[in-house]
């Protein structure tokens, strides 16, 4: 019981801190807008797509994936912040397990990232990108599933790092390869991409996250280009989440 309450209070803290950071919420509108409007307009003709798909439709799930990734990784900063300003000590001496501590932070941060993802989805709809609003309900749990693993990466890295500067450098080092190699900006199948690129992308968990989002938002139109059927996508993402939760708990256990 006390573990559940510990989890809840740590989760709530992440939500409150996020909610109070208004500037981040406002700026989170800008970046996806730039991608969906400017980038999409410039590159729409570069990719050969089936007639029933337009480029904006294809990159919207990709940009949602990107937002989830960047926000999730950014959340690691909170851990370093907590370490630097001492609050981590208060949590670490509490009589609750490190698994609960990790889970509370991870799910809390994932909830924050999910909110950012939802904002992008809504922007997409507002821009008139032809996506059925009902698919939103299917996309939601998938988005959450994607963030669990990604937030965990950020938390694990942060638990090893001593300062903000170092984390910033590593963050870019993780963010961009995961983003570019996930097929977020282009379909991995059906084009004439170099085989090394698709081979590397196959090892990227975000590839399957983005593919799952496209499977549910684009439906049958996406099937010819899909990497895997939806259930395999979800299976891969869930498997990755499981591994990262184990690694994260271990990383938090050795944190002092």
């Amino acid at each position: 019981m006390s573990e559940v309450r510990g989890f809840y209070t740590l989760w709530l803290r992440e939500i409150k801190r996020f909610y109070r950071d208004r500037t981040r919420l406002v700026t989170s509108f800008i970046q996806p807008l730039l991608w969906l409007v400017i980038f999409a307009a410039a590159f729409a003709t570069r990719f050969v797509l089936p007639a029933n798909l337009n480029y904006q439709q294809v990159i919207l799930p990709g940009i949602i994936g990107q937002t989830l990734l960047f926000t999730a990784m950014f959340m690691g900063i909170n851990v370093i912040w907590d370490k630097e300003f001492g609050f981590m000590k208060e949590i670490l001496v509490a009589p609750i397990s490190r698994f609960t501590i990790f889970l509370g932070k991870m799910v809390g941060d994932s909830t924050d990232a999910l909110l950012q993802g939802i904002i992008v989805f809504v922007i997409g709809l507002a821009l008139g990108i032809p996506i059925s609003p009902i698919t939103f309900l299917y996309a939601l749990p998938i988005m959450l599933l994607i963030t669990f693993g990604l937030v965990s990466i950020g938390l694990v890295i942060a638990s090893f790092m001593g300062n903000l500067e170092g984390f910033g450098a590593i963050q870019t080092f993780v963010n961009l390869p995961l983003f570019f190699l996930s097929g977020a900006l282009f379909p991995l199948k059906g084009g004439s991409l170099p085989s090394w690129l698709t081979a590397v992308a196959a090892w990227n968990p975000l590839t399957y996250g983005v593919d799952a989002l496209r499977n549910v938002t684009l439906g049958a139109a996406w099937t010819p280009l899909q990497i895997q059927p939806l259930w395999i996508d979800i299976g891969v993402v869930a498997f990755f989440d499981g591994i990262m939760i184990v690694v994260g708990t271990w990383a938090f256990t050795r944190m002092k």
């Binding site: 209070t9 709530l12 803290r13 409150k16 801190r17 001492g86 981590m88 000590k89 009589p95």
Partner: protein
């Protein structure tokens, strides 16, 4: 009555450095136990082990009857900690910080509201409870941390350097709280400090620590009485020569040079003072001032460790941090 805290040969080593060396202490329930020593003496390491943050290299200890290694969770539930460095979330309000603590430490939900209101009253932060912590002053934050440590009704409260960096008025205030808390909550307090006056004012028992070991342990009163006598402080133009002369005359090594002044501990200061003046005049040493006073804890510390606590702290700072410290002074 069982001890609130008991350690047996408690040791923590880092490589070849013995941060805490075979510590044997026992603290009775309801007492304020002061751990006094310079920075780096091992006080925080002792507290960290007792709070189950650090695992001892060897030896064992119990807190409230629970083993600090095997029953760490039970220890954690039964203690409160106020860390040396701030450990509150400054983006939450005072009340939110307290609620979070109550949840983390398993305080029943039905009691949380009332307990938190009482704590806020105790530390006089009722009117600021719903403001973000970042708007609090240093003293207010410290008070909130003190209050926070009490929400789950701990039997032992650890205070690690509770008043470092606070102004004299706030320190006075915090001391008042600590004494009040001990009485109203019936708890045992372990206090680490490198402030003599703090240890003296608050502690029922003081353990002086140096290089990971307890040098002496007694009540503040008894510690001061062991020096049996007076302290004479002399300022003169040739301190070293005067020191040698006095030592030779007394036949004992009972002098220390502290901050450029000679300190002599003797049984009867009034009888010795004229002789010191004589010695100085005969050897044409010019005495600038001479002072007689009762011994304080600073003298006790000097007596047992052979150095001044302030002198020692400044020596440990090198390079950039030393420069910064000097700039602040």
């Amino acid at each position: 009555m069982p001890h609130a805290i008991e350690t047996r040969q408690l040791t923590k080593t880092y490589g070849s450095l013995k941060a805490v060396d075979s510590l044997d202490i026992s603290v009775d329930p309801g007492e304020i136990f002061g751990l006094l020593g310079p920075n780096g003496a091992g006080k925080t390491t002792v507290v960290s082990m007792l709070c189950t943050i650090l695992k001892p290299t060897s030896g064992s200890a119990t807190v409230n009857g629970f083993d600090i290694v095997r029953e760490a969770n039970k220890v954690r539930k039964s203690i409160g900690i106020v860390f040396q460095d701030p450990s509150i979330d400054d983006r939450l309000t005072g009340r939110e910080n307290l609620f979070m603590h109550a949840n983390l430490f398993g305080v029943p939900a039905s009691e949380q509201k009332e307990r938190i209101n009482r704590i806020l009253k105790l530390v006089e932060l009722e009117d600021r409870a719903d403001d973000l912590l970042r708007t609090y002053s240093g003293g207010m934050r410290r008070r909130l941390e003190l209050g926070r440590g009490l929400i789950h009704y701990p039997k032992v409260l650890f205070l690690d350097e509770p008043t470092v960096g606070l102004d004299p008025q706030t320190r006075d205030h915090i001391w008042k709280y600590i004494k009040e808390l001990k009485q109203t909550h019936d708890i045992t307090v372990v206090l680490t400090t490198h402030y003599m006056d703090e240890a003296d004012r608050l502690s029922d028992q003081i353990a002086i620590m140096d290089h990971g070991k307890i040098v002496v342990l007694d009540t503040p009163q008894k510690l001061k009485e062991t020096l049996e006598g007076d302290v004479i402080t002399v300022r003169a133009n040739n301190i070293q020569a005067l020191s040698d002369l006095v030592n030779k005359w007394l036949g004992l090594n009972q002098t220390h040079i502290v901050d450029g002044a000679l300190e002599i501990t003797v049984r009867s200061g009034k009888a010795v003072m004229p002789r010191i003046m004589e010695l100085a005049t005969q050897n044409s040493i010019y005495v600038e001032s001479i002072l007689l006073r009762e011994p304080n804890l600073e003298d006790v510390f000097l007596h047992y460790t052979g150095k001044s606590i302030r002198e020692d702290t400044s020596k440990e700072l090198h390079g950039a941090s030393a420069a910064r410290r000097r700039a602040i002074k």
